[in-house]
């Protein structure tokens, strides 16, 4: 217990068992408040179904019907859009962060595009490419690509100049320094950027699925609204939360495994 009290000093550290327990308490409090508001009848169950209803609905959605398929298709859309965006943004971000002329050429354009709301492009994309998968993927790319480029460029700029200079004095050429020093040094930060932007990509996919889709978690949510099925909506939203949490944990595990040298 002493170590728990010590953990309350600024930037104090804590045993991992305590971390799990405290995190669980936070979830329990949410569940408790939720139950208190709904089961006592303080809030109309139509607007906010009690946890018990949501759990029942979740079980039936996961055991029967197309919800698993909906999750699958949504995950596919997010990953397809995000991977395409990341594959193009990585080399471009590296170039912008490294070379001033590339930055002058692209950075202002990308900053402008970044503020164009991806969701407002949905009607245009439907006109241009229809309502199939490419349209959903296009929305995710438009939403995540400019963010990725600018954030990767910043990650690259944070590589200390003296580390680049020392590699010159060891015989590295100006062309090689990009992938021999800048990329490996910036990689842990770039992975953090990926983690952050992938989270944003999830909001774009749901928006894209709320408009003109026939499958996916967003589609399930909008269908449930039409049928006044609020419990279904909750299951949809909470599922996204859980998937996001799992992805976050996976990213963190990757970080520990591959970037243990970075602290």
């Amino acid at each position: 217990m002493g170590s728990l009290i010590d953990a309350f000093t600024p930037k104090g550290k804590m045993k991992s068992t305590y971390v799990v327990v405290i995190a669980a308490i936070a979830f329990a409090i949410i569940l408790l408040l939720w139950s208190a508001f709904t089961l006592t009848g303080a809030v109309d169950q139509f607007f906010l179904p009690p946890p018990t209803d949501v759990i029942k609905t979740a079980i039936s959605l996961f055991t029967q019907g197309d919800f698993i398929k909906d999750i699958g298709i949504t995950v596919f859309r997010v990953m397809a859009g995000f991977i395409i965006a990341a594959a193009v943004a990585l080399p471009l971000g590296l170039m912008i962060g490294t070379y001033a002329p590339m930055s002058a050429f692209l950075e202002y354009v990308v900053s402008f595009v970044r503020y164009l709301p991806a969701s407002a492009f949905i009607p245009l994309f439907i006109l241009w490419i229809g309502i199939d998968e490419p349209e959903k993927i296009a929305v995710i790319i438009l939403g995540s690509f400019p963010q990725l480029i600018l954030m990767i460029a910043t990650n690259v700029r944070n590589v200390p100049m003296s580390m680049i200079e020392v590699s010159y004095t060891l015989g590295t050429s100006k062309a090689d320094v990009l992938w021999k020093v800048i990329l490996p040094k910036a990689l842990p930060d770039i992975m953090d950027t990926f983690r952050t932007v992938l989270g944003w990509a999830w909001t774009y996919v749901i928006v894209a699925e709320l408009v003109g889709a026939s499958s996916g978690i967003g589609f399930m949510i909008i269908q449930s609204q039409r049928m006044m099925n609020t419990a279904n909506i909750f299951v949809g939203i909470l599922s996204i939360g859980f998937i996001g949490m799992i992805i976050d944990v996976l990213f963190k595990l990757c970080h520990k495994k591959f970037f243990f040298w970075n602290n």
Partner: protein
């Protein structure tokens, strides 16, 4: 022709009338004013001066990381146009590659030269032993102390076998005890296998203890104010007892006087 070539390789390093002017918003700042200096082959030269006197700028120019406004650097008969593997550099901030093991860090320059991996490993092993880090080859820099990191940085620079080793306040970030140990380590390495070394420092003791000659710079604009030929009074091989000898104290007094005078000038000019 042949004779000239042989002569050229013995020329050492030449700083020829180097002037450096920085253009900043308020106007031009004269950082180095017509500095000339000859560094003999295998000589250990210390550059000493008050902070802001341009000693680090001079070292960066020799390294090729900065361009001169006027004048040039000639190393072994070749005019310097940019950084290269012939001039190794050790910075105050160790700048090890954190994603590489100690051994990989030391092999980095050799890999750039396309040395075979067997050769690179053997050379790395030699320098790992030389700086006393055997047993740490497979560790990563983040698990080492500051002194150990700087030893890796020195081994990494030496493994590349540069004709000149440049040290920019290499022990400035270390505590007093570690600094003393590192000075002796460097002294022993240099005495075993001499190499041209130019070291920038603001530590008078360190400058005299290690060097053959100590070049003392004036306050801004930087010029070579005086060169103390300390190897005359402090013959090699040296050890730490040198630091308490009469000769050492005489040199220290002279160096301290000049630096104090320059610092006062700077103070009065403001």
């Amino acid at each position: 022709m042949q004779i000239r070539d042989i002569e050229n390789t013995n020329l050492g390093l030449e700083v020829e009338n180097v002037t450096k002017i920085y253009n900043i918003k308020k106007g031009n700042v004269l950082a180095l004013d017509n500095v000339s200096l000859h560094v003999h082959p295998n000589e250990f030269l210390s550059l000493l001066g008050t902070s802001g006197c341009g000693k680090s700028t001079l070292l960066r120019i020799i390294c090729g990381l900065e361009k001169t406004t006027e004048g040039r650097i000639v190393n072994q008969g070749k005019v310097i146009t940019g950084p290269g593997a012939d001039r190794g550099m050790v910075f105050q901030a160790y700048n090890l590659f954190p994603w590489m093991t100690i051994s990989e860090n030391i092999q980095f320059g050799l890999k750039q030269k396309k040395a075979s991996s067997k050769e690179a490993r053997e050379i790395a092993e030699h320098y790992t032993n030389l700086v006393g880090l055997n047993g740490f080859e497979t560790q990563y820099p983040n698990s080492l102390s500051g002194g150990m990191r700087q030893r890796v940085a020195i081994a990494r620079a030496l493994a590349n076998d540069p004709s000149v080793l440049l040290l920019d306040e290499p022990f400035g970030a270390l505590d007093m005890q570690t600094r003393g140990v590192m000075q002796e380590l460097l002294l022993n390495i240099w005495q075993k296998s001499p190499k041209t070394i130019i070291m920038v420092t603001h530590d008078v003791d360190e400058a005299i203890f290690l060097a053959d000659r100590v070049a003392i710079m004036s306050a801004r604009p930087g010029k070579i104010k005086e060169i103390l030929d300390v190897k005359k009074g402090l013959p090699r091989p040296r050890n730490y007892h040198v630091k308490t000898s009469q000769e050492f104290i005489k040199y220290k007094e002279r160096a301290t006087d000049i630096i104090r005078e320059e610092s006062m000038k700077l103070l009065n000019s403001v």
